[in-house]
């Protein structure tokens, strides 16, 4: 199962529509969840509308949360998404067997057996989660809390029976045209999560859509440079220094 969790506190303002990007991700089998952080005042009508639109398009859910409840919110969403993904799959199978019905229509005794299987699958299926953190200037005071929530999430993922791994990105990058930066490559190791956000330089723009597309690329190729990595290196000439982070 693949999930992107977007954590943001405002509207996107650069590049492709994030709603479209999320719809694309869903097509690729990646579910997009969105947390809107609301510590000071509100996120704005436009912001909250965008958040719920992204989640709807991405087949996931959206929640507004203060930094205090962030860890709890992220875990609840992750867990629910896993259960729902499995529920969809199970319902699909059931429809093939039983015709037009979902497991909610089964009598309680049979439902009990189905849920037993679903619980088992939720606990044991492999899970990949990419966290995509909005690091535009207004997010700066919230990053410590975000980091703490990530640490907490690793703890819960680590307790699952199935393989779970986590990668962390922020956006935008320090250079224009760099839509997302990898902070933490796929990991299951708690120790490395201590300080992930050292390299962030805050900028004003919020290219949410392009960042989602980048993360999709990462799911597919295991690197942010994707299939174009060669061209990219030739063009910019900055390839060598960056490469060390990803190869190994």
């Amino acid at each position: 199962m693949k999930q992107i969790m977007l954590i943001t506190d405002g509207c996107s303002n650069v590049g492709e529509s994030p709603v479209m990007a999320a719809a694309l991700a869903k097509q690729e089998g990646i579910i997009v969840n969105v947390v809107g952080i609301i510590d000071y005042g509100t996120i704005g009508e436009l912001g909250s509308l965008e958040i719920s639109e992204i989640a709807k398009a991405g087949g996931g859910m959206s929640r507004l949360s203060g930094t205090q409840k962030l860890a709890q919110t992220m875990q609840m969403m992750t867990r629910k998404t896993v259960v729902q993904t499995i529920q969809h799959a199970v319902n699909k199978e059931l429809r093939q067997i039983l015709g037009n019905s979902s497991f909610e229509d089964l009598p309680p005794d049979q439902r009990s057996q189905v849920v037993e299987v679903m619980d088992e699958l939720s606990e044991t299926s492999p899970l990949e989660i990419a966290l995509l953190i909005d690091a535009s200037a207004s997010m700066k005071p919230k990053l410590a809390a975000v980091e703490e929530a990530i640490r907490d999430m690793m703890l819960s993922l680590g307790a699952r029976k199935g393989n779970s791994r986590l990668a962390v990105f922020h956006f935008p990058g320090p250079h224009s045209g760099e839509d997302a930066v990898l902070d933490l490559d796929w990991t299951t190791d708690l120790g490395t999560v201590r300080s992930i956000f050292q390299r962030i330089s805050m900028r004003g723009a919020t290219p949410t859509g392009p960042a989602i597309l980048k993360v999709m690329e990462f799911f597919q190729y295991g690197t942010l440079k994707g299939h174009e990595s060669k061209n990219w290196m030739e063009e910019t000439g900055r390839g060598e220094g960056m490469l060390g982070d990803y190869v190994v």
Partner: protein, 312 residues
Amino acid sequence: MTTSSKSALAQGTVVTGRWKGGRYMIQRLLGQGSNGVVYLVKQLDSAKLYALKMGFDTVDIQSEINVLKALQRQSHRRGNAGRDLSYLVEVDDYTLQGREIPFYVMRYVKGDPLRSFLAKRGGLWLSIAGLHLLRQLRQLHENGWVFGDLKPENVLVSPYGEVELIDYGGVSSIGRSVKQFTEWYDRGFWGAGGRTADPSYDWFSFAVVCIHLLAEEPLKRAATQLPQTRSYNDLLAIIRSEAALSPYRGWLERAVAGNFRDTAEACQLWKELVTSPLSRRRPRQKTPRWMLGAFALALTLLGCALYLTLGF
């Protein structure tokens, strides 16, 4: 998606089961757990009182029911040794405005939540309620389960300290991940270990529950500091410094560190603690330093004397 069923049903509403046709009249709201709302109901055919829980989500409530069923099977298999932990009476669906709401009916337990019980009876009663609670946990653990979301709200106490665990939504089988937890009572929150369900997870929560009930202020201070500096050493410091916790000090230290062989041992040690006469519970005075010094000197002298005696 899950909000519509959260609005409370009015008193006098009759809930009829879709599959089994059981009829229950709502008396009043009893409370709300993480997976659903609990009502006090009267079964119309027998006029008996029960508690009825309506789920927010079909999967979540069903997996809670599955745990209760498994517990019921296990206690049947063992005959009547130990108390019947499970209290499931009926499982069914209720059709409300075209939607199916899953519910289950369980036996109604009268009692106060742990906190108000202690407020009525006095803090000393924690020793009795604690022992009952540990025995309940022991029975769960021995059947391969961990309660998970242990907190004062989930513990109902009868007037004489008998304990009933309510809300089995957080129960996980040993070795799985803990499904539900509450920050303060979660050992991950205090950096004291992982969220894999094992008996020590419940011991830890139990210890924090004790601290919460007897030394709330220092716990609150420790819990609200910066997450980077929060650690289970803060809990140990509270255990060591708070007078109200002194009777339980040694036990709590072990619980926080996960230092029991099994829950049977945890029970045994708690029992020894609370059944020992009050006089012995006074904090023991430490042996003065000079006495230790004198003892060491005496030993050395004895050693010398022996050496001399044997040497010659």
